[in-house]
Symmetry: C2
Subunit: 144 residues, 2 copies
Amino acid sequence: MPLQPDPRSSAAALRARGARATPARLRILALLEAADRALSRHDIETALGPGLFDRVTLYRTLDRLVEAGLVLRSVDERRVSRFSAAAAAGAHESHAHFRCERCGRVFCLADVRPARPRLPAGFRGVRIDLNVRGLCRACTESDS
Amino acid sequence: MPLQPDPRSSAAALRARGARATPARLRILALLEAADRALSRHDIETALGPGLFDRVTLYRTLDRLVEAGLVLRSVDERRVSRFSAAAAAGAHESHAHFRCERCGRVFCLADVRPARPRLPAGFRGVRIDLNVRGLCRACTESDS
DNA sequence: TTCGCAGATGCAACTCGATTGCATCTGCGA
DNA sequence: TCGCAGATGCAATCGAGTTGCATCTGCGAA
């Protein structure tokens, strides 16, 4: 989890997974690795500068990064996909997010590792994710 | 959690929450209470008979039932909202679902009660939900 | 170093779940 | 039984995400 993401190691990670190291992928990966929360396509487009990459390119790039296992996807209450760097979040089978009900931002709870619950007979669980909803620090503080 | 949902008690529950007991609300509530899984708007429309209620009415009715606390909403991996009766699921602050990655169906794990995790300073958690993804029984059995 | 092409990108059109505006209808308290 | 706030239906619209197709380019091979 480097503070200054290294584009060379990102490029190597991409190539090791059979994906080309393109500007779009390196920029998006660096952005997600530096972020302290899960970003939507809209967040990413705004951060990189609107118009730098096409909307379709952003979606396809994110799909490819998820497929390569470098990025995790989750869907928020407002039906928007959000993305976080797998390296920063911890690429575990179980994962936890905090979703602020006021500002809509999503934070990774990297050190929370939810336990696998008992399932009904015949059901096979694979991945587990836990969502906590409430108010984030900024919204709690502006709540006085 | 009655096996045969009682429309009279549903009507009373609606009125107690300041909502009218209309045919759409009573039919949808009865359907959700009888279901063993969370239903999408499309599932509900199909079950009640296409054309019986307008799509907009279904969405607005479901919104109202969620607002009244009689129904819980969750969003699946495919960005579709799914609804389950709060009474059947257990209207707790924490809740768990199983989402089948093959058929897309969503099951309530009524007896699983995820623990509240530690949050970063300043964050206030309110509701918790746990999602387990994998294969449901039907899809596991057809997997041979 | 250059070359070729599979894979990546951009643009336009499209899909589909969900929402909004507005006219009409109705549950239910008075 | 009457009035009206709240509920419903219809049409238009929104917005996240996808698809088809033409063009471009990273990168392995020559």
